[in-house]
């Protein structure tokens, strides 16, 4: 307490400053509290269920015993097929919007549509998927229908994150390329994409975890309640981790809690590991920054 705090006004300022700082710190702790609680609960309750056997065997006795292998495989199928559709479309559309399209009423409408599409609740996506893919295109309840529904859900976010990665490349670089006679495509190919690809990948990978976690969009479009065999093609139905968790917790009586919690833990680990991958990519790139 030095000479600077002698006046009452200075003391009041100092108190306010400590108070504000405490409030902000408390909010930050509040933020991580649920994360710690969720992970802790799942590890304590479901950790014991985790075993090689649990991961790689099929559910038995009306899902009250056995493992979750078909659900893991099903989730991989759904995420893989949906990204195979949404990543190329989303990235290419974003390149067009950011690098070619000017500012016109048409592009403004497209931007508005993308923002709104990102805000559509997942259950609405699910109903759209039923109407469009299952019924109208007669794809039936299948991996294809479910994946396309997931793709439509992830598409706007992929477009938005890709656009952000592209616009992080300074305009001055593009102008420098145009000044020496490079075409727009040459500029994109040799300067814009190489310097934004990491950001683009990060955005896409984050959508992997979102697609893996969603239940509603696959509920009516392709995810099966119980399917002891693995899917053979995109026309089959499949189980999925998120759907399986929903089934275990609400639809099946007498499931031992460690199976439910174990399933939740696996789903969480899948999502966390995917997110970690994207964080690692981002930090690697940050270290290699080229300007």
């Amino acid at each position: 307490m030095g000479v600077f705090l002698s006046s009452p006004e200075a003391q009041r300022r100092h108190r306010m400053q400590s108070f504000a700082r405490t409030i902000f710190a408390c909010m930050t702790v509040l933020l991580i509290l649920p994360v710690v609680a969720i992970v802790g609960l799942l590890v304590i309750r479901g950790g014991s269920a985790l075993s090689f056997e649990f991961l790689f065997s099929v559910p038995l006795r009306g899902m009250t015993a056995g493992g979750i292998w078909p659900a893991i495989v099903g989730t991989v199928w759904l995420v893989g097929v949906s990204l195979a559709v949404s990543a190329p479309i989303g990235v290419l559309a974003a390149v067009y919007l950011n690098e070619y399209a000017g500012d016109s009423w048409l592009t403004r409408i497209i931007h508005l549509a993308i923002v709104n599409l990102a805000g559509v609740p997942s259950i609405v996506h699910a109903l759209f998927g039923v109407g469009a893919f299952v019924l109208f295109f007669s794809l039936g309840t299948s991996i294809l229908s479910a994946s396309l529904t997931l793709a439509i859900m992830t598409l706007p976010v992929i477009i938005a994150s890709t656009k952000e990665a592209l616009s992080a490349v300074p305009l001055a670089f593009r102008e420098a390329c145009w000044n020496v006679g490079a075409t727009r495509w040459q500029t994109i190919r040799h300067v814009v994409l190489p310097n934004s690809i990491a950001g683009i990948l990060t955005g896409v990978i984050l959508q992997v975890s979102r697609a893996a976690g969603e239940t509603a969009p696959i509920l009516f479009t392709g995810a099966a309640f119980f399917l002891p065999h693995l899917p053979q093609s995109v026309n089959d139905q499949c189980m999925a981790l998120s759907m399986h968790l929903f089934t275990l917790s609400t639809q099946v009586p007498n499931v031992p809690p460690q199976i439910t919690y174990g399933t939740a833990l696996v789903l969480l680990l899948v999502v966390l590991s995917v997110n970690t991958t994207s964080i690692i990519i981002r930090s690697r790139v940050r270290r290699r920054r080229r300007w």
């Binding site: 500012d103 420098a176 000044n179 020496v180 075409t183 040459q186 300007w291």
Partner: protein
């Protein structure tokens, strides 16, 4: 080679950004193999004049261009390929930009984009252009380093080397010496005098003395209008045609 027709012709060029007029009815010829100094206070339209020539002006939102700009006999606004035009017109912008690639690749970029693949040819272009831009000695041992990691002044010279790399017929320099120390500036000025034998140079500068040193003819722009153009000695002499030119070059306003 040298024909009667000017290398570059601006005819009634008017440029507007929204409601603002950047250039009003500019008619100006640039002769083959001369250095034309373009002077004038900030906001007088010097940069817009250069950017109208290599057609980067139209990339600015709201820019409207009327009148004609000719390169040799070609109306640049009727050319099929903007890329070809920009290859013929080298541009050095005032802010240094090293592309996020190696120093070598920065200079080899334009030739590669126009299809040069041969390693020896590229090596030659890189050395020649970096030497002309007075940068070769400083970077010859680290051509693989990133261009973006060079100092501001070095990046500026890298920008000049890049503008020379596609062998332009016309070289537009917009405040090229803004980030460069006086000694290096002098070295580049010497190179410009040599380049004049093969290239036509438009030199926009806020340093009126630089125009005086280098330019064969000078043009004075003021408030979007061309006040006068003539031999540099005339503009800088006792009796330019317009009193405002005299006042500007002698630092009485600006």
């Amino acid at each position: 080679m040298v024909s009667a027709r000017p290398k570059v012709q601006f005819e009634g060029l008017t440029v507007r950004f929204g409601d603002q007029v950047a250039l009003r009815d500019i008619t100006l010829d640039v002769r083959h193999n001369e250095i034309l100094g373009i002077i004038g206070p900030a906001g007088s339209g010097k940069t817009s004049l250069l950017r109208a020539l290599n057609r980067t002006l139209e990339l600015t939102r709201g820019a409207r261009i009327s009148g004609t700009v000719r390169l040799d006999a070609d109306d640049v606004y009727r050319l099929g390929s903007v890329s070809d035009l920009r290859r013929r017109v080298g541009m050095v912008a005032p802010l240094p930009v090293g592309l996020p690639m190696s120093i070598y690749d920065n200079v080899a970029f334009a030739p590669r984009m126009s299809g040069v693949r041969d390693k020896t040819t590229l090596d030659g272009i890189v050395e020649t252009c970096l030497t002309q831009a007075a940068l070769w000695d400083e970077v010859k041992d680290r051509l693989r380093d990133l261009g973006t990691k060079l100092s501001g002044g070095q990046q500026q010279r890298l920008t000049i080397a890049r503008a020379l790399s596609h062998e332009p017929e016309v070289l537009c320099l917009d405040e090229f010496s803004i980030a460069i120390d006086p000694v290096t500036t002098m070295r580049i000025e010497e190179v410009l005098k040599e380049l004049k034998s093969t290239v036509t140079i438009l030199l926009v500068t806020n340093l009126v003395q630089q125009a005086r040193r280098l330019a064969d003819r000078s043009a004075f722009l003021l408030m979007s209008e061309l006040v006068e153009v003539g031999p540099t000695e005339q503009l800088f002499g006792r009796e330019p045609h317009d009193r405002r030119t005299f006042e500007y070059v002698n630092g009485m306003f600006g």
